[in-house]
Amino acid sequence: MGKLRSLLAGVFAAGLLAAPAIAQEDEMPNEKWSFNGVFGTFDLAAAQRGYQVYANVCANCHSMQMLHYRDLSGIGLDAAEIKAIAAGITVPSGLDDQGNPKEGPATPANQFKSPFANEAAARAANNGALPPDLSLIVDAREGGANYIYGILTGFGQPPSGFKMQDGMYYNRMFPGHQIGMPQPLQDGTVEYVDGTPNTMNQEAHDVVTFLAWAADPETVERKQIGVRVVLFLMFMTGLTYAVKRKVWSNVPH
């Protein structure tokens, strides 16, 4: 019976893994991510640098509306640092006495500031294309972190004979190879405060670490609880099985 179940499971798993129809345009990079694996954690230094990349580069076009400044405690920033970061950002801040919208410094309770007030404004500023919100982007794309890394490092010249449409940029990773986003990261785009060499690959690695955290901030706690839960359940399985054997010991079966 166990064999039957594992056979079916195997067949089904093979089916699931023989992946759906999204064409892999280029080979998926196989980066080493600190958060992979049962005991993976977020490299907090990388995530903080990644926030710096997001705030200085990506946030000019991409919103991250699911994140609040207070969430940054998850990448190791303390309350004072978070308050300072928020206070340096101007956000809509209620109404003045005449009833007109006014602005003010953000607080930790605020959502990350969006670059555009709404979708129409975003499209107008970007040739009709909508820069997607990045809160969940790592989960929203087949290939996850590796795919996003591939996009960020996949810009280049189109091969000869490849016809590029106006306003599009060639990208090895993107399905169809034509992406509406100009190359956002190069060597030296961001000056890291901790002095880490700011190569394009490093910047991409760090911002993807940040984005992976942003999409699933509970990851480390979840895996840690998971280890304990599974170990406890394995213990309980052994225990209940032992009791079962004892209970059934006087029954021929």
């Binding site: 019976m1 166990g2 179940r5 079916l8 067949v11 089904f12 089916g15 699931l16 023989a18 759906p20 129809a21 999204i22 049962v38 699911m66 969430d71 997607p132 809160s135 969940l136 989960d139 929203a140 794309r141 087949e142 999409a215 901030p217 509970e218 979840r222 895996k223 609880i225 998971g226 280890v227 839960v229 599974v230 359940l233 394995m234 309980m236 399985t237 209940t240 099985y241 009791v243 079962k244 209970v247 059934w248 029954v251 021929p252 079966h253």
Partner: protein, 424 residues
Amino acid sequence: MAGLTKSEFANPVINWIDTRLPIFTMLQKEYGVFPTPKNFNYFWNFGALAMVCLAIMIITGIFLAMNYQPNTELAFNSIQHIMRDVNYGWLLRYVHQNGASMFFIVTYIHIFRGLYYGSYKTPRELLWMLGVVILLVMMATAFMGYVLPWGQMSYWGATVITNLFSAFPVVGPKIVTLLWGGFSVDNPTLNRFFALHYLLPFVLVGVVFLHIAALHITGSNNPLGIDVKSPQDTLPFHPYYTIKDSVGICVFLIVWAIFVFFVPHTLGDPNNFIPANPLQTPADIVPEWYFLPYYAILRSVPNKLLGVCMMFGSLIVLFVLPWLDTSRVRSARFRPIYRQLIWVWVLSFVVLGYCGMHKPEGIYVVLSRVATLYYFLHFLVILPILGKLERPLPLPESISQPVLRGRGGGPLPGSATAKPMEKA
């Protein structure tokens, strides 16, 4: 007190309650001492696992409902609020989301047990049919539940499936408008799906109650497929099967925990992390894995109405299975041809699932047509004929007997008369 039979429990509180409403007597009878065949294998755990699953889904669902907003403007964000801000919200959500998959895994295996061991045969036809009702209600619940996060796949899956009803002649489009409450899947649809998604699990509890009540009238089937002949063939449910089910539950929870804590997104679709956009269709519209075989059947024929009829037909045929299978023998253990052909049917179901994952083009069209054909062939042609033509193996005299002679189940050497029990 006129009309009251005094209960005989040691605990005075329990006794007082039981005299007035005999819940404890009922529990004692139906789960305490209930005579259960002694030769169950672990396949018989899966009904209990399904009940545990239902309970966990209801509990996590209620706590999720405390934070979920069934409005198109708010739904997606409310789920993110649960994931990020509600204490242990991520845990509630992942348990519930992966629990739907676990519920279908467990139920499909439970159904397979019924198919293999002939549990649908007389006198358990109604038990089986109630089970098919449970499957249908589960499917409706799961379908509506998947719409609630209001992601791209939620929206477009709902659009595709509700649009199917327009295939029905004359009244089709009116039915679809009624389902939608508007001119497309939109806020009225989401709101009513939430109301119904909250309701149906409690309907399920009721149908499960009937399912178990029917079971307790006929008694359980067993791997040999032969009737219980004497109390020696049975054991009281408690402690023998309560403990055996506990083992199964622990293993089941390990599998569930691995999904929840380590690979919570594996069974899902990345597209559902994108908020629903009525103006942009994803490249591939794919339902959750447990619907893939039915999706493949739907798309196997180019005609919309025929596809819809065949998809529903693949489930309705299960209702009449007890009458399609003409074999007098219940368990596949004693049906040498059926026990091989059932695996071919399982293969066709898996192949259908695989086809459902892909666009209906190229090889997948051929595969899904062949597999659909075989699926129906199995029920409508093979089973009725096989029952008449197959020579079953000789059945043991009783459930106890093969055990006494060592692990049995196959034909017994020499005569098949029962030997007297040797253990006192």
